[in-house]
């Protein structure tokens, strides 16, 4: 009788200590053996959450690179619009030779600025228009009037979703070099401006230059449209990732988190049970015929 009473107390104490542990940690499953099936779900869910957090981090990296590219190309667009104005102005009959020289001078300055844009570096010191050759200055003018692209045509991607990758840049030759030329084939934007300036310096008209500058603008705008599409994709994917994290956390919480109200009421019940067992023990302990002898 005493044996049974002690056993009951020990059992209730161990149940109580488990509930106490659950409340202290907030976890329903304290070790895999308590719910082996639940545990097999917990690992992949945790991994999905961690991985998607990383994808969101990757997205921010992608966003900052794409934003820098977009900002740079936005400046390039403005510059080309100004160059277009100058080309229209220079091709006007009313301009004198001096006027054209002045225009040519401004064009040469724009050309230098454009070279600066094309050789933009990011915060890590990488040339953003060099393809994979990020440590090599992509655009050089040597000798004067000859423009060479020293980068490659690589395009970096980062992973922003389970099976979704997004390009975080564009190779410089696609942006600045391979622009359709009115005279057939391709010509770089640098050469277009350089040729225009040279024509004006010589006092000549340069009627085809306007077509070429429009081609250049079109080319840059096409790249910018792609960048815009990628930035949109980043936003969409980020929402998907966040939703996935939320869903996984919810599922995970259902599997491993403690229902506090249930646990606290269970704790109370167990406390009452333990007290009852203890009282039963002391009562039984007092029962003896010897008390009456």
């Amino acid at each position: 009788m005493q044996f049974r009473a002690t056993n009951a107390i020990v059992e209730r104490e161990s149940a109580l200590s488990k509930t106490q542990m659950q409340i202290a940690t907030g976890r329903r499953i304290l070790s895999p053996s308590e719910d082996p099936v639940g545990t097999t779900q917990v690992f992949p869910l945790n991994e999905v959450i961690e991985r998607n957090k990383q994808y969101i981090k990757n997205s921010s990296t992608a966003e900052s690179r794409l934003s820098l590219e977009e900002k740079t190309l936005s400046s390039v667009t403005n510059l080309l619009q100004r160059v277009n104005e100058l080309a229209v102005q220079g091709n006007n009959d009313t301009n004198s030779l001096e006027d054209r020289n002045a225009i040519a001078q401004e064009l040469r300055q724009h050309l230098q600025t454009l070279m600066g844009f094309a050789n933009t570096k990011d915060a890590n010191g990488e040339f953003i228009f060099a393809g994979h050759a990020v440590t090599t200055q992509p655009f050089v003018e040597a000798p004067a009037g000859t423009f060479t692209y020293q980068g490659d045509n690589g395009q970096r991607s980062v992973q922003i979703g389970e099976s979704r990758y997004v390009a975080v840049g564009d190779a410089g030759d696609d942006v600045f070099m391979n622009v359709p030329f009115s005279g057939g084939g391709n010509q770089s934007i640098f050469e277009t401006i350089d040729a225009l300036a040279t024509d004006f310096e010589a006092g000549n008209f340069s009627p085809n230059a306007i077509t070429d500058i429009h081609s250049a603008l079109d080319n840059v705008l096409t790249v910018r449209a792609k960048i815009g599409a990628r930035l949109n994709a980043l936003d969409t994917q980020k929402e998907i990732n966040e939703e996935l994290i939320l869903q996984s956390e919810k599922t995970l919480s259902g599997i491993q988190d403690l229902d506090y109200s249930e646990a606290v009421s269970r704790l109370n019940l167990q406390l009452v049970g333990l007290q009852a067992s203890q009282q039963a023990f002391t009562r039984i302990q007092n029962l003896s015929l010897f008390n009456y002898l």
């Binding site: 044996f3 049974r4 056993n7 304290l30 070790s31 895999p32 053996s33 308590e34 719910d35 082996p36 099936v37 545990t39 097999t40 917990v42 690992f43 992949p44 945790n46 991994e47 961690e50 991985r51 957090k53 990383q54 994808y55 981090k57 990757n58 990296t61 992608a62 890590n124 990488e126 060099a130 393809g131 994979h132 050759a133 990020v134 440590t135 090599t136 490659d152 690589g154 970096r156 991607s157 980062v158 992973q159 389970e162 990758y165 003896s288 015929l289 010897f290 002898l293």
Partner: protein
């Protein structure tokens, strides 16, 4: 008449003494309450009938049920087996499953660090972080592997202690057997109750450690058999157990039975009790778990290295090994100590990590058919057989390994093959220079991250189990397996605990001392004693009357 009264006095004195003995031993482990059996003395014929001659104590017996005692021993042994299993398995269970210290966070951090390198492939800090995370991952592999090693060590130590304990118990039972035989002889067949109780207690203690069967002999001694019938005690002669080494792996301790003239390894025959539980948990959980962890280490290092070697590093050089090549250094064959001294050894090559199993193997060479047979130990299945020395090297279908022989092999040779067991302990980095991480595809400039992306993609690829499981899946399965085994031991242990408690109560109900009953007996015997004394006083007054009449 005086004699009759004195016989009552003496009998109730013994009855009171026995009651008092019962009360004194109310707290003694394994004590069976005793009772006196009284019977009338042979009556004396008188002319008009038989006149009673008083009372005799025929025996002092213990109240006891052999069936309940055997049941108690069986259940003690069954419960302790599960309990020992559970205690060991639960240590692994909590170490592997903890979300903060298991392999999972280390794997996640490592692969996230690769993504960061992909985000910024020329950044030395990002590469440095990836190396540090790889080091943490390696440390985690080693740490978990040490848990297995520590548990194995603990099993060895416990086995040593248990063997000492078992030997002491066996010797004590042998001694008691001798005392009991002598006691019975000296009293002309009376049972030495307290010695019998003590022997029962020792046998029960024995059953905590190993499954026990007892067979009584005619002289009152018992024979004690353990496991599947290995004789530990025969009458007053106790055999000894000793610690032996596993024939393949000397670091693994086993049990042998030392009888006069022979020493036999009885590890395979041991079942039940703590010893049975320890042997079970070592084979089913510790060895199996270590092989499973090693398999993940091999799969990770092998597949990661293969992809890493497809890329170019920051200096434009072809990528080398990223992790140490544990797939080539870890597989080991342990030849049996009983092999022919001139025999060579087996070499194991891992040829397909996606087929690799989390198991050890035993390779036997049959002398008569001169062929090998290979048994997978996780499920004791023969996975390949019927090939001879000429068929080597042999690629074992669906197991991902190729075996070959160095030297010669002799009839009856046997080898324990452990393709994955030692891999987790050997996980290291093969590079220390962050620039040596091959993030770019071969031939591409340094800004390329496509090989880093390919490395990162390995995280979710089905690299294992025939292309169906990622590293994490395999780890999850391993943790779940250990969890299920721990869970089963806990649940069955609880059930056995309840059965054991029932057996203890059943034995108590029959043999235990009930103080109320003893109190009642005390009163009863005291009254009988007083009445006998009163009879003597009556006899005395009768004599007095007679004396007065004649004087």
């Amino acid at each position: 008449m005086l004699n009759v009264a004195v016989s009552g006095l003496l009998a109730y004195q013994k009855a009171l003494a026995t009651t008092s003995h019962n009360i004194s031993n109310v707290g003694t482990d394994g004590y069976s309450r005793q009772r006196v059996t009284l019977s009338t003395r042979t009556p004396e014929p008188a002319g008009n009938g038989f006149l009673g001659k008083g009372v005799n104590v025929t025996s002092v017996d213990r109240v006891y049920d052999q069936f309940l005692v055997a049941q108690l021993n069986n259940r003690t042994s069954a419960y302790n087996q599960l309990d020992a299993f559970h205690i060991m398995a639960a240590q692994l269970d909590s170490a592997l499953g903890d979300p903060s210290i298991g392999l999972t966070p280390a794997l996640e951090n490592f692969f996230n660090a690769i993504q960061d390198v992909a985000n910024d492939p020329t950044s030395i800090p990002a590469r440095q972080v990836m190396l540090s995370q790889a080091e943490s991952l390696n440390e985690q592999f080693k740490h978990l592997d040490r848990q297995f090693g520590d548990l194995k060590q603990s099993v060895n130590i416990q086995m040593t202690n248990i063997v000492t304990e078992l030997n002491d118990l066996a010797a004590a039972i042998g001694d008691l057997n001798e005392d009991i035989v002598m006691g019975i002889g000296a009293t002309g067949g009376q049972q030495p109750n307290d010695l019998l109780d003590q022997r029962d207690v020792l046998v029960n203690k024995l059953s905590e450690y190993v499954n026990v069967n007892t067979v009584p002999n005619d002289d009152g001694s018992i024979n004690v058999y353990i496991g599947t019938g290995q004789s530990l005690v025969l009458g007053n002669q106790a055999n000894q157990l000793a610690i032996a080494s596993n024939a393949y792996d000397p670091t693994q301790k086993e049990i042998s039975l030392v009888t006069p003239g022979s020493t036999v390894n009885i590890t395979q025959q041991i079942n039940g009790g703590k010893l049975g539980g320890l042997l079970d948990v070592r084979e089913e959980v510790i060895d199996a778990g270590q092989a499973a962890l090693g398999r993940i280490a091999i799969a990770l290092s092998n597949t990661f290295n293969a992809q890493h070697q497809l890329g170019d590093d920051l200096n434009g050089n072809a990528g080398g090994l990223f992790f140490s090549a544990v797939d080539t250094t870890a597989p080991r064959s342990l030849p049996s100590a009983n092999n022919d001294p001139g025999s060579g050894n087996i070499t194991i090559t891992i040829n397909d990590v996606s087929q690799l199993k989390a198991s050890d193997y035993r390779l036997n060479y049959d002398g008569s058919s001169t062929t090998f047979s290979l048994m997978r130990l996780s499920d004791n299945t023969i996975v390949d057989s019927g090939f001879g020395v000429g068929g080597l090297p042999r690629t074992i279908a669906n197991e991902g390994i190729t075996i070959d022989l160095t030297g010669t092999v002799a009839a009856g040779d046997s080898f324990l093959l452990t393709p994955t067991r030692y891999a987790a302990s050997q996980m290291d980095l093969a590079i220390s220079d962050p620039a040596a991480i091959a993030a770019a595809a071969t031939g591409n400039n340094v800004g390329d991250n496509s090989n880093a992306l390919a490395l990162a993609a390995l995280q979710t690829q089905g690299t294992m189990d025939g292309g169906t499981a990622s590293y994490l899946d395999a780890y999850g399965k391993m943790v779940a397996d250990i969890g299920i085994q721990t869970h089963r031991a806990a649940v069955n242990g609880d059930a056995q605990k309840a059965l054991l408690n029932q057996a203890i109560e059943a034995r108590e109900a029959v043999s235990g001392v009930n103080l109320d009953e003893e109190a009642a007996n005390l009163l009863k015997y005291q009254q009988a004693y007083q009445a006998s004394a009163q009879v003597i006083s009556v006899v005395n007054s009768l004599f007095q009357t007679l004396f007065n009449a004649v004087s």
